[in-house]
Amino acid sequence: MCSCFEKEFKGLYEKDENGIYLIEKTHIKSMIKCLNERDGFHFLADITAIDYLEFTKPTPTRFAVIYILRDKEFKNVITLKSFIGKDEENLHVESICDIFFSANWAEREVWDQYGIKFLNHPNLKRVLNHKEFKGHPLRRDYPIKQRQACTQTDDLMDEMTSVLSKKGYNSHDDLMFLNLGPAHPASHGTIRNFVALDGETIVGAVSEIGYLHRGFEKSCENHTYNQIIPYTDRLNYCSAILNNTAFAHTVECMLNITIPERAQFIRVITGELYRIIDHLVCLAANLVDMGALTNYWYLYNPREVAYDLLSKLTGARLTNTYVRIGGVAHDLYDGFEEDLKSCIKAIEKGMGDTLSLIEHNKIFHDRTQNVGVVSAKKAINSGFTGPNLRASGVAYDLRKTDPYYFYNSLDFDIAIGSVGDVYDRMMVRFEEIRQSISIINQSMKMLPKGDIIVNDKAVALPKKQNVYNNIEGLMNQFKLIVDGVRVPHKEYYGAIEAGNGELGFFIISDGSGTPYKVKVRPPCFPAMSTLPSILEGGMIADSVVTLASLNIVAGELDR
């Protein structure tokens, strides 16, 4: 899969037991360049680092950086790892921003969280933590509860001045500066866009995130695998079960277990329902931003029907915690099928009503077509995935390119756009709702009988009657709750197609019931980092619809 790379750098890399390529720090850039240009690995999924300070196995140095890339078909993943810097002064590597646009924020995050410098980075400053923060929280020796107060918000003028001077503005006299966010109706959460306006045209834009950084990754390091599932609910809180599934699926791959077929189908059905809900919220909010409030009710109300169904099934409306490592928490209830049918009917009606109002509506077309355009090339280079990437015409969907569960035996299409504007992004989502409905209908027909969780004492909790009636069951329950599911030594990247795109987890286990490290690859993080460049040159009113069309969800963006 990477023949040119292997030929050119023969002897300069080693493959470890996890299939990760170990490389020297001095070769990082040239190797990634070669992989990108000659082997077609044109998509950078993520960059992260590992602090091995307390690891159970000895390592050459304390820190390592990790690069995860995908190839042209979006099927094969290659992971590169390089041990770096014996001491603080040498804790740096060459930046790869000029190869991948998506590396920009990813490297800033590694700097912020681990204190690893990236040489020649255009703007290496913190991205998640506030500017008064001292130290690097994801280092193992940073105490998890050491909080640091923030007294002032960054004015962002340093970044803005450099953006403007690149555009040839040396005096700011004629420009107006405007903050959109972090508390702004148009920001959908806590995102901040700072723009410089010439009239109504945006000449410079800077985004700041991290207002909802709630330490997910650090919290993972002191919870067991099953305890992390509730945390994953709150990443993209519009599609909890998809996040649960992405995490559990990755852990199951590390454990090398296959979950029962019924559980797989239940995950597909509830996951697709959540994909629909996710799209509904995004579309509803996007339409409100254009002033189309009626559509908001049409799209939002079917969600209430779905929430009734989900609370019956899982006990909660939006933070479901329904998935367990090895399966799901409980089986479908009697009457689930009828409820699902009426839920789908409500969704179809809401969607039909909305489309009848906007499909041939000139105002809608004018507001969305050729607004916020992202070309296919730029989208790939910036790390776009999901509906945002497909709107630019790239047919990448993990359910097709690297199918998991039963997606290869289900009949559905990938919707793609042609221009990559706001209109395409919205219409792709509408079409995906239709496809998801069809997937749900097919899966309900194929749904087999059987277990809903693996029959493995080391993974799944025993039945309650065993816990209450025999000592073995009780011990088993106790061990699993206290120690957690033990995952063998491994470093692994797993991903599924979530509502927003590729949701990946890079997990390192040290043999215990608590992960040594968890890194999320949130699909909207790269999209957000690209936003300023999309906004520049556009109108201020368009910035609002463009932001909404990318479906940035602060929970997974800031983690």
Binding site: A149, T190, Y211, L212, R234, Y300
Partner: protein, 173 residues
């Protein structure tokens, strides 16, 4: 039996205290400002939409400017980075003002006991009603609104500022 002015003018007038009359009017026309940051804000949206319909209690006029609002609903996790923003917006609201802290995160940091999350907004701004839940159901938020209405009945004077000037939050030193 009617006395005073009511005895003279019959049923055409009602005498009351100005305080009560204004509080009564305020009660049924709260204008909320939603400081929504995370998952809880989604449940606020549900409370505002047709099924739960917050307008039954007169609080559907959601304002996006703190200066036009008298009820702040803090819905979601507040990180330390967000704290100066929260405080600034609270200070921009004019008297009289009330605060609902919605959800475990806003009340106490919730299950995010870590380096970045504020452990309860009441260390920054005064809170009137706390709503438990992660997230609270929309009905719980409606209940909180009713609690605020009860508080309004108890206000001793409409001219006096209701927020305790001696309140000192983490950032007010």
């Amino acid at each position: 039996m009617a006395v005073g002015a009511e005895a003279i003018f019959g049923n055409s007038i009602v005498t009351t205290k100005l305080n009560s009359a204004i509080s009564w009017a305020r009660e049924s026309s709260m204008w909320p400002y939603v400081f929504g940051t995370a998952c809880c804000a989604i449940e606020f949206m549900s409370a505002a939409s047709s099924k739960f319909d917050i307008s039954r209690f007169g609080a559907e006029v959601v304002r996006f400017s703190p200066r036009q609002a008298d009820l702040m609903v803090v819905a979601g996790t507040i990180s330390h980075k967000q704290v100066p923003v929260l405080r600034k917006i609270y200070n921009q609201m004019t008297e009289p003002k009330w605060v609902i802290s919605m959800g475990a995160c806003a009340c106490s940091g919730g299950f995010y006991d870590n380096y970045t999350t504020l452990q309860g907004i009441d260390s920054i701004i005064p809170v009137d009603v706390y709503v438990a839940g992660c997230p609270p159901r929309p009905e719980a938020l409606l209940d909180a609104l009713l609690q605020i209405q009860k508080l309004q009945k108890k206000e001793e004077s409409i001219i006096k500022d209701r927020v305790n000037k001696n309140f000192k939050g983490q950032l007010d030193v």
